[in-house]
C-alpha cells in the first residue's frame, strides 16, 4: 500500500513532494519480477479470472506468454480483446474483477498480480514502438460516426477501423481519452499514459478525431445519422448530480470530477487549489480518487462522508485502504444537510442516518465539520434532453443485445448505457461489441445492395 507524503502539523508539502505524490501508484514490474509473478499462475482451464473480466481477455494465455518470453504475443492477446489494456491494467479495480476470483488465493493467500502483469506486457509493446500490432481488413467504404472519445468511443472506433470501416470521432474536450484523461486520479495514469494510449490506438489508421464538437450544440444526431452509415454514442454521463441542500452554490463547494479534471490538466500539480479541511461526499471510487488526491496536494484534513454503511459503499476495499492509509477519515451513515459560510464555504452540516424499515432515514442527530472545500462525488446522470425520442432505460440510453438503440443504425455503449458497472473496462467491451454488431449490420446491408 502506497504511503504518500502528507501535510503534518509542522510542515506543508513542497511542490517537489506534490509532484512525487503524483508519480505512478504502482511501480512497474521489471522483467525478472514479471517472470517470477507469472510463474505463480496455475494456467487454469476456462479460467475464473477470464470470465470475471468484462472484456474476456485470455489471462492464462497472456501470462503464459510472459513466462515463455513472448511479450509481443502476450500484449497481442490482451489488446485483441481490450485495446485499452494499458489503462485497464492501471485503473481497473482488479480486486473485484479478475484478481478477486484468482484461484491462487486458495493456494497462496494472495492472487496473481494480473493487473501488473498485464501492464508489463502492454507497456512493452507500447514502449517498443514500431508498427501497430493490428491491421485493417479491406476497406468497406462505410463511414461511421462516434460521439465521445472516451474509452467506449475509442474502443468502438478502433474495432470498426480494424474491421475495415472509416471512423470520425466527435469530442467536446480538447483531448481524447474521456475519463481516462480527465476523470481518474493522476497517480493511476502517471506520465500522461492516457494520451500515449490514444496515440497508440489511433495508429491503426482510419480514425479521425474532431475536437470541440458538443452534442446538441454544434453537433446534431440527426445530421450524423444522415451523413454516416452508423453512429455510436459513447457520450458518458455529463451532468453532475446535485445534492439540493442549502449552501450548495457557495464558493468552495464543487464537483469531485471537476476537481480531478483540474488536477489532470495541470502541468504543475502544486498549482491546483486545495482546501485545508476538505470534505468529500460520496462512496464510490471517484470519491476516493478525490479524497486521496486532496491529501496528495497537501490538504490537512480530508473527511469522506458516505450516507450508508461500509457494506453499501461501491469503492473497493483496496481503494478504501489506500485512503485510510493516507489519513483520509471515512465517516459512514451521514448525509449533508447544509453548507454554510461567508464568501466561501466554512462548514458542512450532516444528518446522521440509519436504516428504518429498510429505508435510509435521518436519525435525528446532526453534526458539523469544518470545511473550506466540499467535493461532491455522488455520480453523474445522462442529459436525456439531447437524445430526443431515443428510448431510455433507468435514466440511461436503452440498447438491445447488439448495443443498438431504439434508433436503427445508432449504437451506444459505455457509462451512458446500462451494461455493467461504470468502468473503463466495461466501456471498452461495450465499444468493441457494438462495433462488431455494427459491422455485421453493415456487411449485411452491403451484401443486400450488391444482390
Amino acid at each position: 500500500m502506497k504511503h504518500f507524503k502528507l501535510t503534518t502539523d509542522n510542515s506543508r508539502l513542497s511542490s517537489r513532494d506534490i509532484a512525487e505524490n503524483f508519480d505512478d501508484l504502482h511501480p512497474a514490474l521489471d522483467g525478472a519480477q514479471a517472470i517470477v509473478e507469472a510463474a505463480r499462475c496455475i494456467y487454469c482451464y476456462d479460467a475464473p479470472c477470464m470470465n470475471a473480466c468484462p472484456t474476456r481477455i485470455d489471462i492464462p494465455k497472456f501470462i503464459h506468454q510472459i513466462r515463455s518470453g513472448n511479450l509481443d504475443g502476450s500484449a497481442q492477446t490482451i489488446l485483441s480483446e481490450n485495446i485499452m489494456g494499458g489503462a485497464c491494467a492501471r485503473a481497473c479495480p482488479t480486486e473485484v474483477l479478475c484478481e478477486e476470483v484468482c484461484v491462487v488465493h486458495h493456494t497462496e493467500g494472495a492472487p496473481v498480480k494480473i493487473g501488473e502483469l498485464q501492464r508489463h506486457a502492454v507497456d512493452h509493446i507500447m514502449m517498443k514502438g514500431g508498427s501497430h500490432p493490428f491491421s485493417r481488413a479491406p476497406l468497406s467504404g462505410c463511414k461511421l460516426a462516434v460521439i465521445g472519445a472516451g474509452p467506449a468511443g475509442l474502443s468502438f472506433a478502433h474495432r470498426a477501423a480494424m474491421l475495415g470501416h472509416d471512423v470520425v470521432v466527435f469530442e467536446a474536450k480538447p483531448e481524447a481519452g474521456g475519463l481516462n484523461e480527465y476523470g481518474l486520479a493522476g497517480y493511476k495514469m502517471a506520465n500522461d499514459f492516457a494520451q500515449a494510449e490514444v496515440e497508440f490506438l489511433l495508429a491503426i489508421g482510419g480514425i479521425n478525431i474532431e475536437h470541440g464538437k458538443v452534442l446538441d450544440d454544434n453537433l446534431l444526431l440527426d445530421d450524423l445519422r444522415g451523413a454516416y452509415d452508423a453512429v455510436f454514442i459513447g457520450a458518458g454521463l455529463a451532468t453532475a448530480r446535485g445534492l439540493g441542500v442549502d449552501g450548495e452554490n457557495l464558493a468552495g463547494v464543487g464537483d469531485a470530477l471537476e476537481f480531478i479534471e483540474n488536477i489532470r490538466v495541470a502541468a504543475d500539480k502544486s498549482s491546483v487549489q486545495v482546501g485545508d479541511d476538505v470534505v468529500v461526499i460520496g462512496g464510490g471510487n471517484t470519491a476516493i480518487d478525490a479524497a486521496v488526491q486532496a491529501k496528495c496536494l497537501g490538504a490537512c484534513n480530508v473527511t469522506l462522508v458516505y450516507r450508508r454503511g461500509p457494506d453499501a459503499m461501491t469503492a473497493t476495499q483496496w481503494e478504501r485502504d489506500l485512503a485510510t492509509a493516507n489519513g483520509v477519515v471515512v465517516h459512514y451513515w451521514a448525509s449533508p444537510e447544509a453548507f454554510s459560510g461567508g464568501a466561501k464555504v466554512e462548514r458542512a452540516v450532516f444528518s446522521a442516518m440509519r436504516i428504518d424499515d429498510g429505508k435510509l432515514t435521518p436519525s435525528g442527530d446532526s453534526f458539523e465539520l469544518p470545511a473550506d472545500m466540499v467535493l461532491k462525488a455522488i455520480g453523474q446522470t445522462l442529459n436525456s434532453d439531447i437524445f430526443g425520442e431515443m428510448k431510455l432505460d433507468g435514466g440511461k440510453i436503452a440498447v438491445d443485445a447488439q448495443y443498438q438503440t431504439s434508433l436503427p443504425g445508432v449504437y451506444a455503449g459505455g457509462d451512458c448505457v446500462k451494461s455493467g458497472e461504470d468502468l473503463t473496462v466495461q466501456a471498452v467491451e461495450d465499444g468493441k461489441q457494438a462495433a462488431i454488431a455494427a459491422d455485421i449490420m453493415l456487411r449485411a446491408k452491403l451484401k443486400g445492395a450488391a444482390e
Binding site: 525478472a32 517472470i35 517470477v36 507469472a38 510463474a39 496455475i42 494456467y43 487454469c44 482451464y45 476456462d46 479460467a47 475464473p48 513466462r67 515463455s68 484461484v103 486458495h106 493456494t107
Partner: protein
C-alpha cells in the same frame, strides 16, 4: 541418536555425504571449507598425467524451470588444470589435518597401462583412502581417448580397473558413465576387474540450450559451443534407475555403489540408499547453494532415520529393492480410480483439461449453485493413470484410490490376453 556413519567399498566415513569429483573439490581451500561445513569426504577433482589440461572460459550452462530455478547444469570444464604435484601435496595435507574425513583421489589417463599404474601409485602415496577411476567425462577428455571413451568400452573398464587394483592396496572405485545403452555391462566389467565399488552416474552428455540470438549452443566460447556433461536435480531419475539396476541384477548384485546424480536434499540421498547405494556424492547442489547445504542433509537424514527407527545407514540400505521389479511382475488386476476432494478443490480446471485433451475423458464439469465448478471423476472412463493427481496444484486434493476388484494378483506373463502366456502345467 542415529548413526550416520557408513562404510563404502571398505572406506569408513562419518556420514554418507561426499563431494563428488568436480569443480568444488578442485583444491585444498574448497575442500577445507567443505569439511568445516560437515561433509564426510571429498573425491578430489580428477588428476591426469602432467602437463595439466587447459580449460576454456565459458564453462557452465544451465537448465531453468519457468520460475527461473536451476534444475540442471551442463559443464564443459575438463579435469584438474593444476600441476599434479600441487594437488598431491594438498591432498596429503588434508589427509593429515582432517584424519576423520575421507579423501579419494580421482584419476584419468589414456588407455596405457603404465600411465594408469604410475598415476595410481603417485596418488595412493599421498595417503588417500581410495582411488576413483574417472571413466565418464562425456566432453573434451573423450576426444583424447579418455573419460567416457574408456567408460563406454566394457573391456577398457575392466582393464583399467584391473591395472589399478594390481598396483595399489587401497579401495578402488570405478566411476561409470551413464552414456551407455545398458549400465549393467560396464558395471559388470568393473566388477570383473576387481572394483571395490562403482560410482555413478557421471554426467549425461547434453546440449543444454541454444542462444537464439547468436544461434550457438550455451555455454558459448567465442561464438561456438559444444556438448557437455549434464548434472543436477534433473538427472536424478536416470541415476536412480541405474543404481537400482546395478543393485538388483544378478550380474552386478553385491557390487557396492557410491551414488551420484542430482542429490540435493537428505531425501534424495535416502532414496538412493533405499535402492542399494552405500553412500552418495554431491556436486551440483553445492555449486548452486554452497557447502552449507550439507548441514540439512545430515540433520534431515538423521531425523528421518529416527522417525523410521533406523539406527544406521545399513539398516535401510536396499529397503526399496524388493519392491523394484520388472514391469512383467506388476499386478495387472490392481485398479485405481482418481478421487477429487471438493473441499480442497480450487476449481482451476487443470485436471479436466489434462484428462480431456490427453488422457481418457474421465472428468466431468458440473455447474455449482454458487456459480463455481464441480469436477467429478467418471469411474467407468478412469484408467487410474495418475495424470490428474500430478497436474493438480493442490497437494492432496486428488488422490488415487485402490478399488477392490476381488481379482487375484495377475502378471502379464500369466494374462489371458497375452499370446505368449505361460500356462501352468
Amino acid at each position: 541418536m542415529s548413526d550416520l556413519g557408513c562404510i563404502i567399498g571398505g572406506v569408513e566415513s562419518i556420514n554418507p555425504f561426499w563431494l563428488a569429483s568436480a569443480p568444488p573439490s578442485d583444491k585444498k581451500y574448497n575442500v577445507e571449507r567443505a569439511f568445516k561445513a560437515g561433509w564426510g569426504g571429498a573425491v578430489w577433482k580428477t588428476l591426469g598425467v602432467d602437463p595439466p589440461v587447459v580449460n576454456v572460459t565459458g564453462r557452465y550452462g544451465v537448465h531453468r524451470t519457468q520460475d527461473r530455478r536451476i534444475i540442471g547444469i551442463n559443464n564443459i570444464e575438463l579435469i584438474s588444470d593444476r600441476p599434479l604435484d600441487v594437488n598431491l601435496r594438498e591432498m596429503e595435507e588434508m589427509r593429515r589435518e582432517w584424519p576423520d574425513r575421507v579423501i579419494i583421489g580421482s584419476i584419468m589417463a589414456p588407455m596405457d597401462e603404465q600411465a594408469w599404474k604410475s598415476l595410481a601409485i603417485k596418488v595412493a602415496n599421498s595417503g588417500v583412502q581410495g582411488i576413483e577411476l574417472n571413466l565418464g567425462c562425456p566432453h573434451g577428455m573423450c576426444e583424447r581417448g579418455m573419460g567416457s571413451a574408456v567408460g563406454q568400452d566394457p573391456e577398457f573398464v575392466e582393464q583399467t580397473t584391473r591395472w589399478v587394483r594390481e598396483v595399489v592396496d587401497i579401495p578402488v572405485f570405478t566411476k561409470l558413465t551413464p552414456n551407455v545403452t545398458d549400465i549393467i555391462v560396464p558395471a559388470a566389467a568393473a566388477k570383473a576387474g576387481g572394483a571395490h565399488a562403482v560410482s555413478l552416474i557421471n554426467t549425461v552428455n547434453s546440449v543444454i540450450g541454444i542462444d537464439l540470438d547468436t544461434m550457438a549452443p550455451t555455454p558459448t566460447v567465442d561464438g561456438r559451443g559444444t556438448h557437455g556433461g549434464y548434472c543436477g536435480e534433473a538427472v536424478k531419475p536416470i541415476a536412480l534407475h541405474m543404481t537400482a539396476e546395478i543393485a538388483r541384477q544378478p550380474e552386478t548384485q553385491g557390487l557396492e555403489i557410491s551414488a551420484i546424480g542430482g542429490i540435493t536434499t537428505w531425501r534424495d540421498a535416502a532414496e538412493f540408499i533405499a535402492l542399494g547405494a552405500g553412500a552418495v556424492q554431491v556436486c551440483t547442489a553445492a555449486m548452486l547453494y554452497g557447502f552449507r547445504i550439507v548441514e540439512d542433509m545430515n540433520e534431515g537424514l538423521g531425523a528421518f532415520m529416527r522417525d523410521k527407527g533406523f539406527r544406521s545407514i545399513a539398516d535401510f540400505k536396499g529397503k526399496a529393492m524388493a519392491q523394484t521389479v520388472d514391469w512383467n511382475e506388476l499386478n495387472i488386476n490392481h485398479d485405481l480410480k482418481a478421487r477429487i476432494d471438493d473441499e480442497a478443490c480450487i476449481e482451476c480446471g487443470r485436471c479436466f483439461i489434462a484428462c480431456e485433451d490427453t488422457a481418457h475423458q474421465a472428468i466431468r464439469i458440473d455447474a455449482k449453485t454458487d456459480g463455481g465448478r464441480k469436477f467429478t471423476v467418471i469411474d467407468d472412463e478412469c484408467v487410474g493413470c495418475n495424470l490428474c493427481m500430478h497436474v493438480c496444484p493442490v497437494k492432496g486434493c486428488i488422490t488415487m484410490e485402490a478399488v477392490d476388484t476381488d481379482r487375484p494378483y495377475l502378471t502379464w506373463p500369466e494374462h489371458p490376453k497375452n499370446p505368449l502366456r505361460k500356462v501352468a502345467e
